[in-house]
């Protein structure tokens, strides 16, 4: 796996974490505690970092 596809994979992971947590909260399966919300924010911050670090799309 190249660096680019590693970053893509990791970006997907972070989005998956954010989405799973938020859907879980909406559906009442995950409590919206401060630490859970922080985990979502962390995932989105990491996703943003990965986007900023990646090559611009041609």
């Amino acid at each position: 796996m190249g660096q680019q596809s590693d970053a893509r994979h990791e970006l997907g992971n972070q989005i998956g974490i954010a989405l799973a947590n938020i859907e879980g909260m909406i559906d009442g399966l995950v409590s919206p505690t401060a630490s859970r919300l922080e985990a979502v924010a962390d995932a989105l911050r990491e996703a943003r970092r990965l986007l900023q670090a990646s090559e611009p799309i041609p």
Binding site: R8, H9, G12, N13, I15, G16, I17, L19, A20, N21, E23, G24, D27, L29, V30, A39
Partner: protein, 234 residues
């Protein structure tokens, strides 16, 4: 009381795995989570689950190794792959290792739950049918399709189909001569087209390889050019 259906979830991201677990458990399933190939193989060793959710990229190897173990004929496990790439999923389904469906990552846990329900509806009709109903069989030339037990025999010999292949065959065979468009077929398979559209032709090709003497000149599952597919009349 009926025992809970057991599902093995193989996913290396613990947050995601746990949330998927919550969804499945709320739906009445018993769930076992594994984050590695080794853990997944252990879970399969403990007993054949009713379904397997399988991440392809795992820290200690490839989910394909798990799929090979899960696809053994004596322990055929209905499997949904979790993968970042649809083309990869298509390729794996093409390898006929027994994967029935896939969800692309990043996925929504709601979507995963919906796909699990759909898969078990397809495979679980077998169990529901054992409750003393008369057997339903369709015969077309050398094919004999047992709808209750999801079994197919060709000229008396049992053939092994995946859940999706069986469903396609059963649907066509129950309506011989009727032309099914792709979207009609997808609709009747009870799935939202987005997932299956890309793999339907692949499933048809795999089905033909199993039931046709010459898959290039099919005698049973016929292509109606520009329209779709149909089963020969008798």
């Amino acid at each position: 009381m009926r025992e809970k259906k057991r599902i093995v979830v193989v996913e290396d991201e613990p947050d995601i795995a746990e949330i998927v677990r919550e969804y499945l458990e709320r739906d009445g399933f018993s769930v076992e989570v594994a984050g590695t190939v080794t853990g997944a193989l252990d879970a399969l060793q403990r007993g054949t689950p009713d379904a397997l959710l399988l991440d392809i990229t795992l820290p200690d190897g490839s989910g394909l190794d798990v799929l090979r173990a899960a696809a053994l004929p004596e322990a055929r496990v209905p499997t949904i792959m979790l993968t970042a790439r649809a083309d990869e999923a298509d390729r794996i389904i093409g390898l006929e290792l027994g994967a029935d469906d896939y969800v692309t990552k990043p996925f929504s846990p709601r979507e995963v739950l919906a796909r699990v329900r759909s898969l078990l509806r397809r495979t679980g009709e077998t169990a529901a049918a054992t409750a003393g109903k008369p057997t339903r069989k369709t015969r077309i030339a050398e094919l004999e399709i047992d709808h209750d037990f999801h079994e197919l025999s060709i000229a008396g010999k049992t053939a092994s189909l995946t859940a999706t292949e069986f469903k396609i065959l059963a649907l066509l065979a129950e309506n011989p001569g009727e032309v099914f468009t792709r979207s009609h077929l997808l609709d009747r398979l009870g799935d939202d087209g987005a997932i299956y559209e890309r793999t339907l032709d692949r499933h048809i090709n795999n089905l033909r390889k199993k039931i046709e003497k010459d898959p290039r000149n099919p005698e049973y599952v016929l292509t109606v050019y520009g329209t779709g597919y149909k089963m020969r009349r008798s």
